[in-house]
């Protein structure tokens, strides 16, 4: 049996009732629940309102369903889905968000991986798809998908985050949406494929090749420039996601994966890599994915994803079922490497204590963190703050806005604050 709390454990580690992270190993923590005023059933050990023979449910007394060729989630989990925000004139233009509040661990199921499409998901026949590598190379080459499947492969367990993720954070007023529909343009998968360096070596890089233009085979022919140094260092031409061939909406059959760099560089439906001496200055590296500063100048080629964290539970729209000891849990990630530390605060940032990082803690991958919090029923403001292995510390919103203004749109990575009111309702606040 697990240990339960001792009075010693309930000594605060920081203001607002945060407890030492060793408490996590003991029994008795409860979780915030989604929606309004649902009692924490399991934790409270209460019986459901409708009595039935729980010891002998019908499914133990009749044969179950036969095998399926491809499994789907339980019908009882049908509410766990991506939320979609699309242009009604162009239904394939927009995004869908990963429901971060409904997921645990660090891997995003492929069917819930966020989407950003400019003009829909192309219906690619892999037999008709080619990857062309040309430009400043000794020998321009064309690869079939089938031939790429025969190369040595490597895997990265990494997050992909859209540069536009969390952009509602720049709004004047805090947006009230579930955490996934605000910060869910980030997902984490195992991506497997051919190191791009092998293919570039095969084509033979000209020393003048400093940039490459990567292009996708969608109706946008989405293209973007990326430094060759990055391609040679750790980019892959991915064919698999979480062990299976990449889903159409995630880039089937080929996706460029640029670990730790903003989503738009991870070109889906990859069909062409052109080696050049300069960036092509595509629309998605000039008009978009650049950040306007208050001075009127703009940041360009902001490739690296800075460290970020957020609490997924409790989070906006959820509620606490009364004073008790709660588990705080969330996700942290950094495009620069490993997460070194996540701190949590229950008093709006006046004091902090370290959260427990759950293994594995991998570079440029989601890291799950947990902390214990004794809520006394008073209004509170919960925050988390990530520090990565380079020493970069996730900024407070006020500091980020002071530096960047509110019109940069991209790369919002400020500390996220959830307000808890006396009824236990959780909302998004700026604090």
């Amino acid at each position: 049996m697990r240990e339960t709390f001792s009075t010693d454990d309930l000594q605060p580690a920081a203001g607002g009732g945060l407890l030492h992270r060793r408490v996590l190993l003991k029994a008795g923590l409860i979780l915030a629940s989604a929606g309004a005023a649902q009692p924490a059933l399991a934790a409270a050990g209460k019986k459901p309102a409708v009595e039935s023979d729980l010891a002998h449910p019908s499914w133990t007394r009749e044969p179950g369903q036969p095998f399926t060729n491809y499994g789907l989630p339980s019908k009882h989990e049908a509410a766990v889905m991506r939320s979609v925000g699309a242009n009604h004139d162009v239904p394939g233009n927009g995004v869908s968000w990963t429901p971060l509040e409904s997921l645990e661990g660090i891997l995003t199921p492929a069917g819930l991986h966020f989407e950003r499409h400019h003009n829909g998901v192309p219906a690619i026949d892999p037999a008709q798809h080619r990857l062309v590598i040309h430009g400043l190379v000794k020998q321009p080459l064309m690869f079939t998908v089938e031939s790429l499947l025969r190369y040595p492969m490597t895997s990265h367990l990494i997050f992909v985050e859209c540069g536009g993720n969390s952009n509602a954070g720049w709004h004047q007023e805090p947006i009230q949406r579930p955490v996934g529909s605000f910060h869910g343009l980030v997902s984490c998968s195992e991506w497997t494929g051919v190191p791009l360096s092998i293919l570039l070596d095969e084509a033979g890089l000209d020393p003048k090749a400093l940039w490459a233009v990567a292009e996708g085979a969608d109706a946008m022919l989405m293209n973007v420039s990326i430094p060759v140094e990055k391609l040679m260092k750790d980019c892959i031409v991915a064919l698999y996601q979480n062990g299976e061939r990449i889903r159409p909406e995630n880039g089937y059959p080929l996706r460029l994966i640029a670990p730790g760099w903003e989503g738009v560089l991870n070109v889906k439906w990859l069909r062409r890599i052109q080696l050049t001496d300069q960036p092509v200055m595509a629309r998605n590296e000039t008009a978009k994915y650049t950040e306007l500063l208050p001075s009127g100048r703009s940041r360009m080629f902001t490739f690296v994803v800075d460290a970020k964290s957020l609490l997924t539970s409790p989070s906006c729209g959820q509620s606490l079922s009364g004073p008790s000891v709660y588990e705080l849990k969330g996700l942290a990630w950094s495009g620069r490497g490993r997460i070194a530390m996540v701190e949590v605060s229950a008093d709006g940032g006046a004091s902090w204590t370290r959260a427990q990082l759950q293994d594995p803690v991998l570079p440029r991958c989601f890291t799950r963190f947990r902390a214990a919090w004794k809520w006394d029923g008073q209004p509170a403001v919960l925050k988390s703050r990530a520090t990565d292995e380079t020493g970069y510390v996730q900024p407070e919103r006020a500091a980020l806005v002071a530096e960047r203004g509110r019109h940069g749109y991209f790369h919002y990575n400020a500390i996220v604050s959830w307000g808890v009111d006396a009824e236990g309702k959780v909302s998004h606040v700026y604090a």
């Binding site: 162009v90 590598i133 040309h134 031939s147 040595p152 430094p227 092509v280 001075s295 080629f301």
Partner: protein, 174 residues
């Protein structure tokens, strides 16, 4: 030697029953000729490399814009269900900056490229080069960057200096 290096050095080829040992990674890329590359290469660089033959003026482009673009981008490109493309009134360093082609875009070549590559959204790739030049000229004219009868072609387009050409600082790349 790492596992990966070892695998690469051994030159494993996965697939079928074959696990051939050779000195290098498999070389399965099919050489293609410059002529074949041309069919794929639609990149347009700021210095004009990649621009096709053809030409157009804003006067010619206006009707095309009204017919093919305005339903999403609004009359005169003033914005609709899709981005505002022209008609900014507030400066980039003001409290409510308005980013349009005229105020924000650093290169005129990008307007041609985006239009030819991706627009109109319901029929991408359907514009001829002349049409793409004409509608580019119209967008530059609507942003008060060129005159209505100025001819846009592969020589003149890269020479159009955009107002915000020097407004960008490169962060993670030289």
């Amino acid at each position: 030697m790492s596992m990966r290096d070892a695998l690469l050095a051994a030159g494993f080829v996965f697939g079928g029953a074959v696990c051939a040992l050779s000195a290098e990674a498999p070389k399965l890329g099919i050489p293609i000729s410059p002529a074949d590359v041309a069919a794929w290469d639609i990149s347009v660089f700021p210095d004009g490399r990649g621009l096709p033959p053809g030409n157009g003026t804003a006067r010619q482009g206006r009707a095309l814009f009204d017919a093919q673009c305005a339903r999403c981008h609004g009359a005169g490109g003033r914005g609709g269900t899709a981005e505002e493309l022209a008609g900014s009134t507030s400066p980039l360093n003001g409290p409510d900056p308005d980013k349009t082609i005229g105020t924000y875009w650093p290169y005129a070549t990008t307007v041609f490229d985006m239009t030819r590559r991706s627009m109109p959204m319901h029929a991408p790739g359907s514009l001829s080069n002349d049409e793409a030049y004409a509608v580019t000229a119209y967008l530059l004219f609507a942003n008060k960057i060129i005159a209505e009868d100025f001819e846009i072609n592969r020589e003149s387009l890269p020479l159009v200096k955009m107002p915000n050409r020097d407004g960008f600082d490169r962060i993670d790349a030289p």
